[in-house]
């Protein structure tokens, strides 16, 4: 079994490195720095780090003030709590095209035992709806390590980055390169295209192994860049495979599944089966138990792929 690292850990580590590269980098948190790992940056750069306390709206707009003063700003919180400042992000940060990254951790069902109040399954949807907002969901520690510097180097307007609490398999090697707006084919295949993001990429690769045993050759695409989405790659996958499955640790409403359907319904109508949280709230449990119960585990992806193949044109 491959090494497992939580993307929040990779985020905290690379953010600390970025502190030296960018003297204009300011990091804010809202009482969760120990968990989001921004405390590593804060310990080394106390003059450029503020823990605003349990006040996410205040944090976002203090960040906007820093950004309007020429700083590169990163705000961190848990995905669920940071999302409560949606209107601040929409109206003050995004509307002014401010250079701000909202790097939120503990996203999705895999938060686990804390239960439904902490499981953000809607964050990608609400961020994606904001004009000018980019949305990135790194698949693993390697992609996190590559994507954070890429985003900070090219920072032009607001970006949402989503990280997980639980350790997830390291899928990519050191030679992996991230680029905003670009999907990556992780496994070749032409019977069905599985388009995934976040830790669901690793699970989709496992599902593809399973499908191969049954003679179904699944292509697996990592779509970390949900907005802008790699529409060309989505259409190509649909044309060459004839059926698509989307897999995300998020509601099937408004996230990757919706983004893929938007592309295909306009440019190349293709049967799509969406794997994700089915418009419900989660509950307490281990990540594995929750993935089984809420339809995100490997057997569910395999089943969805077979269903998609059955619908293929």
């Amino acid at each position: 079994m491959s090494e497992r690292i939580a993307t929040r850990d990779a985020y905290g580590k690379v953010l600390l490195e970025m502190g030296a590269k960018y003297p204009d980098l300011v990091v804010l948190d809202a009482d969760l720095a120990g968990s989001t790992r921004t405390e590593w940056f804060g310990a080394k750069y106390p003059d450029r780090f503020y823990d605003i306390g349990i006040a996410e709206q205040d944090m976002v707009n203090i960040g906007a003030g820093f950004a309007a003063s020429g700083k590169r700003v990163v705000c961190s919180s848990f995905a669920i709590f940071g999302s409560r400042a949606w209107e601040q992000i929409r109206n003050t940060a995004a509307r002014a095209h401010l250079p701000m990254v909202f790097a939120y951790t503990h996203a999705g069902l895999s938060v686990g035992a804390d239960g439904a109040s902490a499981q953000a399954n809607e964050d990608v949807a609400v961020f994606r709806a904001i004009p000018d907002m980019k949305v990135v969901v790194p698949a693993d520690a390697t992609e996190t390590r590559k994507a954070v510097p890429w985003i900070l180097e090219h920072l032009d307007g607001p970006v949402y980055m989503r990280f997980s609490r639980a350790p997830v398999p390291v899928t990519f090697g050191d030679d992996y390169e991230f680029e905003l707006g670009r999907g990556v084919v992780v496994r070749k295949g032409s019977d069905v295209a599985i388009i995934a993001c976040g830790q669901m990429v690793a699970l989709s690769l496992d599902a593809a192994d399973e499908l191969a045993k049954k003679g179904i050759r699944a292509r697996v695409v990592n779509m970390a860049s949900i907005k802008p989405i790699d529409g060309k790659m989505v259409v190509k996958a649909a044309k060459e495979c004839g059926a698509v499955v989307t897999v995300e640790e998020h509601s099937i409403i408004g996230g990757l599944g919706s983004a893929v359907c938007e592309v295909l319904s306009e440019r190349h109508p293709t049967p799509v089966v969406r794997v994700g949280v089915k418009d419900v709230f989660g509950e307490s449990g281990t990540p594995d138990e929750l993935f089984d119960k809420y339809g995100l585990s490997k057997p569910h992806i395999v089943k969805a792929a077979k269903e998609a193949v059955g619908k293929a044109k």
Binding site: M59, I62, G65, A68, A96
Partner: protein, 283 residues
């Protein structure tokens, strides 16, 4: 810009700004006259007699910053900026028109003279903290002024920010509450009373004082006191009159967010010393 604190001259300017505000909102057909008129003395005092501000070098990194957190009252800010020469006067008459930089609520992308895009209440004070703390990092000594509405003090984020600024002793930050006592629908005291307002700010570790916010000498006294106060941010509760200067708008929630009719426009301008009857125009 040379600081102007002469009360007589400032009062003449205030009268002109009030005419501009009525003209702008009348031509736009919509807007917020009440809270624009109440804040005329505060906003003009800041730009003309207090802030380090060069209208021809609006991105000077050492400039003092002004955030209009009560963004709906932007006519008073636009009129003041036109007066100091930061924007051409003829732009004023394009308020709220398609393609105009003078949006219904301030937009810093369309209008770089705005320090922040505002319009959704409760957000300006937090951003002011960010700007004030950026001065610490950059070792600059500029000050940040944030004008809040009184109704805006009902927003939770205002108090999140008050707590943060008090905690971090952000003494280059000065909040001014335009306490005109009337919000959109009813008097503040009826909807949700703010009192004891000065005590609230003090309890959040601010230096706070209450003044007559339509009096230039009192405003300058308070601004001097704010600048001299170290180790704490200052909040000036500026007691004002909503709709100040136009008798039938004064204290009337009906003119919180409504343009005057043709008849009301002529009457308002007449009270401000301009004859616009019979189609006579004001430029």
């Amino acid at each position: 810009m040379k600081r102007l604190r002469d009360e007589k001259k400032l009062k003449e300017i205030a009268l002109k700004l009030r005419r501009d505000i009525i003209e702008m909102i009348y031509r736009a057909g919509s807007g917020h006259p009440g809270g624009s008129l109440s804040a005329v003395e505060v906003v003009s005092a800041l730009y003309l007699g207090e802030m380090n501000y060069d209208p021809h070098n609006i991105k000077d990194p050492d400039r003092d910053r002004f955030i209009l957190s009560k963004g709906h009252c932007c006519p008073v800010l636009y009129a003041t900026l036109a007066h100091v020469g930061a924007i051409p006067r003829e732009e004023l008459w394009k308020l709220r028109k398609l393609g105009s930089p003078l949006q219904g609520h301030p937009c810093m992308l369309k209008m770089p003279q705005m320090e922040l895009s505002t319009g959704s209440l409760g957000q300006g004070l937090s951003a002011g903290i960010g700007m004030a703390l950026a001065a610490r990092i950059d070792k600059r000594d500029y000050r940040v002024y944030v004008l809040l509405g009184d109704g805006e003090c009902q927003e939770g984020e205002t108090w999140e920010a008050a707590m943060t600024a008090g905690h971090h002793k952000v003494d280059n930050l000065c909040a001014i509450v335009d306490y005109n006592h009337v919000q959109q629908t009813h008097p503040i005291a009826e909807t949700k009373d703010l009192e004891p307002l000065v005590d609230k700010w003090r309890a959040f570790n601010w230096h706070a004082l209450k003044i007559d916010g339509n009096s230039y000498p009192e405003i300058f006294r308070a601004l001097d006191e704010a600048r001299a106060t170290k180790g704490k941010p200052t909040c000036i509760i500026a007691d004002t009159q909503k709709g100040k200067g136009v008798s039938f708008m004064e204290g009337d929630p009906g003119f919180h967010g409504k343009a005057p009719s043709d008849e009301q426009y002529v009457k308002a301008m007449a009270e401000l010393g301009v004859d616009t009857s019979g189609g006579k125009t004001y430029e």
